[in-house]
Subunit: 449 residues, 2 copies
């Protein structure tokens, strides 16, 4: 018995020593492509840390150089020149007129007191006025500030898209009612499509029943541009979710204002001289310097607007569809970016512009180009009118997306495509911003002095 135990112990010792003697295995390094390794989760944290530290330094440098420039009261003066005169707010209140006009047109159309042609004509008048009235007001009123004007025009543009959708959907509903009526007279055995579609939804609204004040105002405030008779609703308001989004909204708006005042304004002011002197290397240096705060503010704006604010409003209204953006950060083509970063607008374009155009047999590329054209028009509209300065930089910026999209789609794949999209975002915006600011500066300050 004992010799066996000793032998066993000796074997164990041999095996243990062998375990120590052999310590290398035939294998590839992780970073070699042959290893197939791809877990770089830590790199994300690294980026966050690096960005925080880099910006902490820039922040400190900025503070040492300029002192504290953040001034929340100053923001008010951007909206109001004269505290007794609130032109932008008045403009927004007036917008109710257009909402009412749309509702009453629809009511007339639903009972058939006016024809479809008259309806279309009334809408044409209503929607055209909706675009031209505020822009004319902003251009003529001297008491309106550029920021106030831009805000009012944004509200009107959103309203324009919403009412256009309202018109289309109600028209489709009338078409369905018409078709159903015709099929029902022809054959009594046809099953009701509406019934099978909406049976599970509580308090299901069908066509003429939706033409109420309550319904149209819910749509106007809802975070979507596409009208639907029965929006999906979330079961209840989650209070903690609501409070978190509210906190984010308040925090990020402050952060954006602070970053603009402390970081962008001094950088832009410093870049005016190189741009006037056309000192090329310094111009690029300034542009790259501006790119970082501009891009960060845009990212914060994205999160603030598309995640915090829209989710806040949606939660408050128990609006169920929270798809306000898709994973545009992974986009490998320019087209993917544009169709995923702003889902409300993309959905609207697809439903009320692209598909109807395609239905009329228009070529796919022509329809896409048309969307970019319309988008470019609205970008220009929202910038030029408030600044009272027509330069077409925003228009050209949007239109340049078409050759860019072609180039990226043609030559770049995967991560290279993604990097190209990011570069166009990071570099493209500050160029446009500097263009407008430069022209605005030359127009208002150089010509006066």
């Amino acid at each position: 018995m004992i010799p066996l135990l000793v032998q066993l112990w000796l074997y164990t010792s041999v095996i243990l020593n062998y375990g120590l003697v052999f310590c290398h295995v035939l294998q590839e390094s992780l970073l070699s492509s042959a290893s197939g390794y791809s877990n770089y989760r830590g790199i994300l944290n690294w980026c966050v840390v690096m960005l925080v530290l880099c910006n902490a330094r820039l922040f400190l440098e900025n503070l040492i150089k300029y002192g504290i420039l953040v001034d929340p009261i100053q923001v008010v003066s951007l909206f109001l020149k004269d505290p007794y005169n609130w032109p932008a707010s008045c403009l927004i209140i007036v917008s109710n007129v257009f909402i009412m006009a749309a509702l009453y047109t629809e009511r007339r159309l639903s009972v058939g007191t006016i024809s479809e042609t008259t309806g279309t004509f009334l809408y044409l008048v209503n929607l055209t006025t909706l675009l031209f009235f505020p822009s004319a007001t902003v251009l003529m009123l001297t008491s309106i500030t550029p920021v106030g004007g831009a805000f009012a025009l944004c509200v009107y543009t959103i309203l324009f898209m919403k009412l256009y959708s309202y018109k289309d959907v109600n028209m489709w509903c009338r078409e369905i009612r018409h078709t159903k009526a015709r099929t029902l007279t022809r054959s009594h055995s046809c099953p009701s499509v509406a019934q099978s579609n909406g049976s599970a939804v509580h308090a299901h609204v069908s066509y003429p029943g939706n033409l109420t004040h309550r319904d149209i105002y819910y749509f106007v405030f809802a975070p979507t541009l596409c009208y639907e008779l029965n929006f999906p609703r979330s079961p209840r308001i989650r209070k903690s979710f609501l409070l978190r989004r509210l906190f984010e909204m308040l925090f990020f708006i402050q952060l954006q204002i602070g970053l603009v005042q402390q970081w962008m304004v001094p950088t832009i002011q410093n870049s005016m001289k190189p741009f006037q002197d056309m000192d090329f290397s310094r111009m690029i240096e300034r542009m790259l310097k501006l790119a970082v705060p501009n891009h960060l503010i845009w990212l914060i704006f994205f999160y603030w607007f598309f995640h915090s604010s829209m989710n806040f409003v949606a939660e408050l209204m128990r609006f169920g569809d929270r798809e306000f953006y898709q994973d545009w950060w992974n986009s490998e083509t320019v087209t993917y970016f544009w169709s995923n970063w702003n889902i409300p607008v993309h959905k609207w374009c697809l439903r009320h512009f692209y598909k109807p155009l395609m239905g009329r047999g228009v070529n796919k590329w022509v329809a896409q180009t048309a969307i970019f054209l319309v988008s470019a028009f609205f970008h220009e509209y929202l910038v030029s009118v408030p600044l009272k300065m027509f330069r077409l930089w925003a228009f050209m910026g949007m239109m340049s997306q078409i050759p860019l999209a072609w180039f990226v789609g043609r030559f770049l794949r995967g991560n290279y495509g993604n990097a190209a999209v990011w570069i166009s975002l990071i570099i493209g915006q500050p160029i446009a911003v500097l263009m407008y600011v430069h022209d605005f500066y030359v127009l208002h300050y150089v010509s006066q002095s």
Copy 2:
């Protein structure tokens, strides 16, 4: 037939219109935690783009401010003061004496002409001399530069670890031979463990057959610190792999030198004044400014040394085990980082220090602390001796890892732990660098003037 077709067309139209009418779905936003979405692959590209652009700007700013400071010829002067006197190279050539001493000691031990105790004593003398001889030379020779000295000491430290491993493994082999001899005399039926372990390997070497010049020099040049009789070998030298690694080696070494000359040196020079005046906010600003280039250079160094260079050498020597690092970038604890970023050293510590200590019944925490102590000693040794200035900053930097490891392990989990590791890396290094540079500057320039 025709009425049926018409009816079918009408149904299709109804369904198509329904598809248009319904366009919202009950769903969460991607960034809400409820969505469960986690694909942020694009963020990685964003980081790369942002880092490239930020650094492009810093590069341009740096160029405008300082002009071109990169000077490859200047690097040579770091190694050589006097072109006719190459002390560091001479030191490295002398190191062959120690290799030979180890080999001949082992040969005597294998045939039994000297006892194990004599062998251990000879090794003690050999290895102690190996550490003290170069440091004494570096401290006494005035013609040696700090960089040349550090390089020679690194070579000697690596050699120390290799020869220590050589001694251990050969000792284990003698133990195995001894045990096998004893078991074989006792029972002839025992199967050969060595046979079953190495049967598949071509030209398998067993114990005394490994004590050749060829074998020890292969080990000295192989990218590992752990000796093994039969290293796993890759089947062939992949030429394209070799060329890529060679190109990376040449490119990254140039990049590192360029970054040091163009970015670190001006930043360090500018930070001397705030550090002398003890201007606290500027000191932090300078430290953060230095953190970025220092960290980037460290990252490039990591890739250059552990991926490019080691893989190059391994490919050239057909050395199979390419695990020179693990995924330390994902490390959530300080301990994980230290045991994964430098696998050769970690493997050595585990095999020749930690496991033998544990085998003698030493507590796990005591053994870990001992490893950090030894590591701290070598860090200090490699910095203080070439600078001829004993300040203990490197020693304290390494020793501070123990409380840091405890803190991170105790309070931070997941991504927070990972971020803490990154912060300690990004911030810790430049503090130590600035400490040494500041003291070196005060010692050599302020005292002279």
